[in-house]
Amino acid sequence: MAINILLVDDSAVMRRLVKKTLKLSGVPIGRIAEAGNGQEALDILEKETFDLACLDVNMPVMNGAELLKNMRKKEETKDLPVIVVSTDNSPARVAQMSALGAPVVAKPFTPETLVDAFVSAIGG
């Protein structure tokens, strides 16, 4: 079954890099929607459903931590598997995200690290 993904990062180049890494990995990827900040992501989540969300943390308008808190409050997204792909993998940030049920993949990432996190998040 193909996995539908919401990809949230304010860098278009990083979104392309994550998409390319996933497509080359052999993981069955379906639809990929993209958002440049947390608010755009929430707007998309109002209309569409996904199997997994991949979030950056530091973004303008609404950061990834606020986005994730909002997602966990909503019935439709409270259980959505999420991985955080961020430059910030400090213990404090990892603990914050872990409390919200999201593992952190540090940038720069290797393809193996990213793909392993995706597979683990979707229960593969």
């Binding site: 180049v13 890099l17 931590a65 430059t87 910030d88 404090a92 940030r93 940038k107 720069p108």
Partner: protein, 152 residues
């Protein structure tokens, strides 16, 4: 007295690691040339347990080469990609730098990177630590400053 954020050696090590892992760049401490013109600057402010800013200044034809290497040879890299990619490189570098500041009980917040062509953002008059790393296409000057120095 405030503990220094990083030593120059630590800053060099973080920059080298990030550029090698993110852009597959071959990084050196010295270059055969030293008169590369300024290409672009990128600035990232951070706040949290420590406040400050990271400024990177590329000289030569670095931004396009790093972004091309990051994306892979089969990807087209336009002007917007160069700008966005350089900002992301600065962002990743800054995130990896603040992670070196030692045990802290709250996370750092990084502002969205600002990128300008040429010497768009001035150097801090007294940066806390500076480093220069060289790649095939030019060099990258890195300045790490504490506090909230104004940016024009």
């Amino acid at each position: 007295m405030t503990t220094p954020m990083l030593t120059q050696e630590e800053l060099m090590n973080v920059a080298t690691s990030v550029l090698e892992d993110l852009c597959f760049a071959l990084v050196d401490e010295e270059s055969d040339e030293d008169d590369f013109p300024v290409e672009a600057t990128a600035l990232v402010r951070f706040s949290g347990p420590r406040d400050g800013r990271l400024l990177i200044r590329t000289r030569g034809d670095v931004a396009g080469a790093l972004v091309r290497d990051m994306m892979g040879e089969d990807e087209e890299v336009g002007d917007d990609d160069r700008r966005d990619g350089l900002g992301e490189i600065a962002n990743v570098l800054c995130g990896n730098i603040v992670a070196q500041f030692g045990p802290v009980d709250s996370a750092f917040d990084l502002e969205a990177p600002r990128v300008g062509i040429g010497d768009a953002f001035p150097s801090d008059a007294s940066p806390e630590v500076c480093a220069t790393v060289c790649v095939d296409e030019g060099m990258i000057e890195i300045e790490l400053s504490s506090g909230g120095a104004p940016v024009s």
